[in-house]
Structure formats: C-alpha cells, structure tokens
C-alpha cells in the first residue's frame, strides 16, 4: 500500500477519480433499492402524506368568500369595519352583481352555511336574498333594496363578518378549535357555555393517560410471565394475548356492552351474590369507565408485545446476580430488573397513548356522552355538520399534540431507548 498524501486525489487504474467510480458503482444499487420500495413509497404518499397535507391546508383555507363574492370583497377593502356604519352603495352594487352570478350557479347557499359557522343567521340571510334577488330593480339603488329584503344587510355585524372572512386564509377554524373567536375587539374566548373543544382535548388526554397506566399495570406482569415461562407454555399464552387481534373490534366492543350494562352479566352477578342491591346497579358503560375498560382491553397487546420483547432479552442471570449479592426479591426486581425494562415501558406507553388519543370507534360505542374523545367530535364535523375546516383544524391540533408529546418523550426518555422488538 502506498501512502496517500493530503490533497492528492485517489484514482482508479484508468485515471478516473476513485470517488466518481465508487458513486457510479453504487448508483445501480441505490436505484434497485429505490425500485424495491417504490410501490410502498407511492402508496404512503398517496394515502397518508397527501391527505394530511390536504387536511393541514383545509384547516386554514377560506377561498369560498372570494370565489363567490369577488367584486364585493374588492369593494369592501375600502370600508372600515370599526366605523360603525354600513358600507355605502358601491359595495351593494358589487354585492348585487356577485349574488346574481352566485344564484345562477347556486353557490350562494354554500357560502351561507360556511359563514353560518362564524355567525348564526347568515345562512338564512343568504337563502332569503337568493330568493328575492330576481325581484330587485336592476337600476338600483341597491342599498335600500337589500335592507328591505332582509334587515340584516343593514347591520354592521353582518358586514364585519363578511369582511373578516374575505381573505383566502383564515385562522378562524383554529380559533374555533381553541374555543376562541374573532370579534370586532380582536380575539376573545367564547362564552363559557360554548367552550367545548379544550375541555374535550383535556378529557382525551386524561382518559388516554388512564388507559395507558391501566394497560401498563395489567400488561407488565403478563409480559413478565411470558418471558419467564418455558417456550411451549409461553407460546400458548402468547396466542391468548393476541386473541383480541383476531376478533373484530366491533364484536369485542359489543361484548363489553353485554357484560357491563346495567342489566348486564356483571351487574346481574353482583346483585345475585348480594354485593350490591338491585337498586344500586353500577353504571359501567356509556361513561368514562366504559371507555377506559373497553379501550384498555383493546390496546393491551400493544403494551404487552414491546414489554415482552424487551424482557425476553434480559438474562435471568442479572436477577440471580443481584440476589447472590444480597438483594431480596423486591430489591432485585426494583433496582436491577425494572430499570432494564424501561425501554419496553416507554415503547408500550408511547404506542398505547398515541393510539388511544386518536381512537374513535370504541368511545363512540361505549363512551356515552361523558366518555367520548376529541376524535368523535372530528368525525362529527367531517360527516354530520360538514364543517370540514373545523374538523381539519381539530385534527391538526391532535397531530401537533402527539408530535409535541413525542418530542417531550424524546427529551426525557430518548427515542433510541425505545425497543419494539
């Protein structure tokens, strides 16, 4: 081997720089690797990344006002919403032109329902105006005609809402998700009785923590047993652990209904044994208890599996060594065994927590009103109220919450400490 001096470029036999030759040789390998993962990559891009980007976009997007009422939006730029007076005739002329087109294309009702999220009553205002606009005198003046048609056109608030939501992008959905709203005096919290999302977020976090903790308490001993048993019996136990994966989620959840309801198996049994009286039947379903019980059951394997895979790698000689050094059973467990299972606890807890924070079907079925999660509200906005923007904003907040937790977790436990298998 000849030694190479600093700065001298290594070359191959025919004089090409070594790095170039190497890159060329590796390129084919890289292309092949890329081709192998391409189907999955495309799938993930289309079904995962794209919808999320779309959701992020929808949570701030607000093109509908400008698209439906283009001239009005331009005309409104001159108007000062704090002036306390309704805009002048020019704006009403623009509104008439825009509404005539919108009614033709039947887009005015959509705009009405969109703005109704911000101020109730606007939906009917637009519908009424749509019906009446054909009867208006095309020569104007329009201001009086509009106010005659519906006196709401004569109030400053209506125009404030229109002006506030005329930009293409709006923080309105996010403010809504934070139980806040934009008023003439800036951003304010909603009246107390209308705040629900922050409370729902809080409940979702609290119930997810409760579910994670109960999964840990129930799963830890089972995972330990699994790792300590001889292979044959541990395989059988593992099948039992995985059994929940093999039954339909709906069936399992319904089974909990049968067990937990007030006329259900558990209550009947307790009454029969005399532990509780017939009048004092426990309410265990359609509330938070039901959600915690059913979700702990469903998510338990996600706690057990990472714990098990970590515990399996812990040689029994550690505990033996601890005992030979004079530690009793508890000390040997707490000082020697338990610390080595923390990566498994971390992995299981993160997994269960993140899964439960976004869970939908089980809280929907057994949560009643007090046991539902933020995701149930998101689903409501996506499929019932059709307020996709708010649904998207709530979803985005949920995503951010998970990411923040992830970062916090990484800071405290370290993500490379997490072992899944």
């Amino acid at each position: 081997m000849s030694d190479t001096h600093a700065g001298e470029v290594l070359t191959t036999q025919d004089g090409k720089p070594l790095k170039v030759a190497l890159a060329k040789a590796l390129r084919r390998e890289k292309l092949r690797a890329l081709a192998l993962i391409a189907p999955l990559l495309i799938f993930v891009l289309l079904t995962f990344v794209a919808p999320i980007v779309d959701m992020l976009f929808r949570s701030v997007e607000n093109g509908i006002v400008e698209e439906t009422l283009p001239k009005t939006v331009v005309a409104l730029q001159e108007w000062d919403p704090t002036s306390g007076t309704v805009p002048d005739e020019a704006v009403f002329v623009a509104l008439y032109d825009d509404m005539a087109v919108a009614v033709e294309e039947k887009t005015h009702t959509r705009l009405g329902s969109r703005l109704n999220y911000e101020a109730s009553g606007i939906s009917s205002l637009f519908r009424k105006t749509g019906r009446g606009i054909k009867r208006m005198d095309e020569a104007g003046p329009f201001k009086e005609q509009f106010i005659d048609l519906d006196k709401d056109w004569g109030t400053v608030e209506t125009w404030q809402v229109l002006k506030r939501f005329s930009p293409r992008y709006t923080p309105g959905y996010f403010l809504n998700a934070f139980d806040a709203q934009q008023t003439a005096n800036g951003i304010e919290l909603k009246p107390e009785d209308e705040r629900i999302y922050m409370y729902l977020f809080g409940r979702t976090l609290f119930l997810s923590v409760a579910i994670t903790v109960s999964c840990l308490l129930l799963g830890y001993p089972i995972a330990y047993l699994l790792s300590a048993l001889p292979l044959r019996s541990s395989n059988l136990l593992m099948i039992l652990v995985l059994l929940p994966f093999w039954t339909s989620l709906l069936v399992r959840t319904s089974a909990w209904k049968v067990l937990l309801q007030q006329q259900g198996v558990i209550n009947d049994f307790l009454v029969w044994t005399g532990i509780i009286s017939d009048a004092g039947r426990l309410v265990m379903i359609n509330n938070q208890t039901g959600t915690i019980i059913a979700m702990t059951h469903i998510l338990l394997p996600f706690m057990i599996l990472p714990l098990y895979s970590v515990m399996k790698t812990i040689s029994p000689s550690y505990v033996r060594a601890a005992k030979s050094l004079g530690a009793n059973d508890w000390t040997a467990f707490w000082r020697v065994y338990f610390p080595q299972t923390i990566p498994g606890i971390g992995a299981g807890a993160v997994l269960v927590f993140i899964l439960s924070i976004g869970y939908y079907i089980t809280p929907e079925l057994v949560g009643g009103t007090s046991g539902i999660f933020i995701s149930n509200r998101i689903a409501y906005h996506i499929s019932s109220s059709l307020n996709w923007g708010l649904g998207a904003a709530l979803g985005t907040l949920l995503l951010v919450a998970v990411l923040v937790l992830f970062v916090v977790y990484d800071k405290i436990v370290g993500i490379d400490n997490v072992k899944l298998g």
Partner: protein, 364 residues
C-alpha cells in the same frame, strides 16, 4: 494458605433432577475445606453448573443436604447465603456504572456511604481498574468486565466465591493472564473458591484440587498432578491431557502389577489400577511423552511400531504410529537436535516403563 478466612462446604448425598425422570447429579458427596480452590471440571452437560446453582441457592436439591460452615443451607434463600458469584456472562448490571455495580452489594447490606466508597475503591484497585469507576459495563473490554465481575463478587468480603466458567468468553492470551490474577487474588484473600470450567488446562493451573465430573458423578477428586499421573479410570485418563489407548484382556495379576494381552496378541506389563480379575477386558492408558525410541532394551515393555506420520512442532516432534493395531498411537519426541532421522513407513522399536502404563476400565 496463611490467612484463611474461607468457608467450609459440604455436599452430603446430593441428588438433583429437573424433570423427575433423569438424575442430572447422582449422589454427590464432596468436602471442601476452608480456603481451598476447588475446580469442577467436566464435559458439557455433566452437571457442574447445576452443582454450583444448588450451592448458590438458585436450584433446590432434590435430595440430600448442603452445608456451609456446618450449617445446613437448603432452606436459606440465596440472598442470605452471603456467597459471592461470578457468572459466565459476568451479569454486570448494564444500567449502572462500574462503581455502582460494586456498591450494590454494600448498599443492600446497609453499609455506610463513606465505607462503601472506600471498599469500592479498594476493590477496583485490587483488579487494577481504579480509573474506570464511572464507566458503564458496555464501555469496557471483555477482560475488564470480567475483572469488575470478580471485584463485585469479592467486595462484600464473602467467605465463599463461586465462579461459573468466568473466562469462557475471553481469548486465549487474556484467559491465561486472568487465570493468574484470579489465582493471586485467591491466595491473598484466602477465601474458598469453587470454580467451574470445561478447560482442563485452566483446571490444572489454578486449582488445589480438581473434581472431574461426568454424567452427574465425580469421576475423580485429586490434586492436578495426581489427576495426570494417576488417573483412576479411562474417562479421567482421556479427559486430562493426551492419552494413548490399547485395548486388551488381563491374563495375569501379581500384586499391584498385571499382564495384559492386547488385541494383536502382544503381552504388556501394566500398573493394575482399575481391573478386578484375570480375564477382564481392560484399556491400557499411556501418556505420549513417556514412550521412548532409543535405549529401549532395558524397558519393561517393548513393541514394534510403524511410523505413519510425522508432525514437526519445533520443541518436539509428534509421531503417529501404528502400535498393537492402534494407528492413532502418538509419541512425543523431544527435539534434541540429533542427527537420527525418523522416516514415515519405517518400523521402529518403542518402549515404556511399567508404571507409566495404567490398566483401567475397558472402553468400547
């Protein structure tokens, strides 16, 4: 041992079965005096670890009693036995530093902080790792981890230390160095050591006495030189050192000597060790370095053999011969720089003394 502070160990008719069908340890009787370095040597699966685990308290004896300083300990839990232990994979706690590992046995005994630090420091210095207290076990080399494991087993001043193949994972050179270090520590501290290995060199160099295990039974319990010079049966002769076997039948017995007719008809004189009566099958055992080529006329046994192969090893030459129908007969010839050349295919006379040739139980 000048300053003995070791414990006495006694196995009394100990039997062990894991499955209720086979005995892994069959009627073990063993007396270990204070301060002794006793090695359990044997092939894989012979029950060495099981014996150690019963002593440490991790496996219950199926039958019999184990005594520590004349106190029966079958019902004493492991953490109250006060026995230091070095595991094959060291079992250093990965989430603690070296110093924390060493402090662990002191902490659980409620030793004061200052004394803990003092003892940990001394233990680390004993194994020459004074500067490594703040490292994690994963940041140490295999040999260093091994030393930490030894230090940890000794730091709480146990009277008895068990070591289960502690050097198994080290390379040859490091293993030899550690053998001496462990031996010196034993000599300095005077603790009783029960050591398990399947490496016979290790057993011979380190031990006061060696118990050779096979199939759950102690085949022989003696000092290293006795084991080599006076094997009591064919298993021990075969397991310890190199050994030539010649199968035959006893034709005559005179006191401590006997005459054996080996399978090709040659009659050889041998030391009667493990044969009962005339007519019994026997296996003669003979060390390769006790066989001579020249000046053989005066020897007790003389036979002709054909040279099959010569292997030059520097300080000696290994000669593979066919003697008495056994073509795996090895002779070690010291390299004295002589002119005499051995050649493959040549037939030569070899001889050996009666005392070097042991008549043992027959192997098939």
């Amino acid at each position: 041992m000048a300053n003995t502070r070791g414990a006495a160990v006694k196995y009394d008719s100990v039997q062990k079965s894991y499955d209720g069908e086979t005995l892994v340890v069959k009627n073990l009787n063993l007396d270990i005096p204070p301060g002794e370095f006793l090695t359990m040597l044997g092939p894989s699966g012979s029950g060495k670890t099981t014996c150690l685990m019963m002593l440490a308290g991790f496996e219950p004896a199926t039958h019999g009693e184990i005594y520590l300083n004349d106190r029966p300990i079958n019902n004493v839990p492991p953490h109250k036995r006060g026995i230091g232990m070095v595991f094959q994979n060291y079992a250093l706690f990965p989430h603690m530093t070296v110093a924390e590992n060493l402090a662990f046995p002191l902490q659980v005994r409620g030793v004061g902080k200052a004394e803990q630090q003092d003892k940990v420091k001394r233990a680390l210095e004993m194994v020459e790792l004074g500067a490594f207290g703040n490292r994690r076990p994963a940041q140490l080399s295999g040999g260093q981890q091994q030393r930490v494991a030894v230090a940890r087993a000794l730091v709480f001043d146990p009277e008895l230390v068990l070591m289960d193949e502690p050097l198994g994972a080290l390379d040859k050179q490091l293993r030899e160095q550690m053998q001496y270090e462990i031996k010196h520590i034993h000599e300095n501290l005077g603790v009783t050591v029960v050591y398990v290995t399947h490496d016979q060199t290790e057993a011979l160099t380190m031990s006061d006495r060696v118990a050779v295990f096979n199939d759950g039974v102690i085949q022989q319990l003696s000092t290293p030189d006795d084991l080599y010079e006076d094997p009591q049966n064919s298993f021990v002769a075969q397991f310890i050192g190199e050994n030539n076997k010649l199968n035959g039948k006893v034709v005559e017995i005179n006191g401590s000597e006997c005459l054996v007719e080996i399978d090709d008809g040659t009659k050889l004189k041998a030391d009667k060790v493990n044969v009962a009566a005339v007519g019994d099958r026997t296996t003669l055992s003979l060390r390769p370095e006790r066989v001579e080529f020249d000046t053989v006329d005066t020897m007790d046994n003389l036979v002709n053999g054909r040279i099959e192969e010569l292997i030059y090893l520097g300080d000696h030459i290994r000669v593979r011969m066919n003697v008495g129908g056994n073509d795996e007969f090895i002779v070690k010839v010291r390299n004295r720089g002589e002119k005499r050349k051995l050649a493959v295919g040549e037939t030569v006379r070899v001889g050996w003394a009666l005392n070097d040739c042991k008549a043992l139980d027959a192997v098939v």
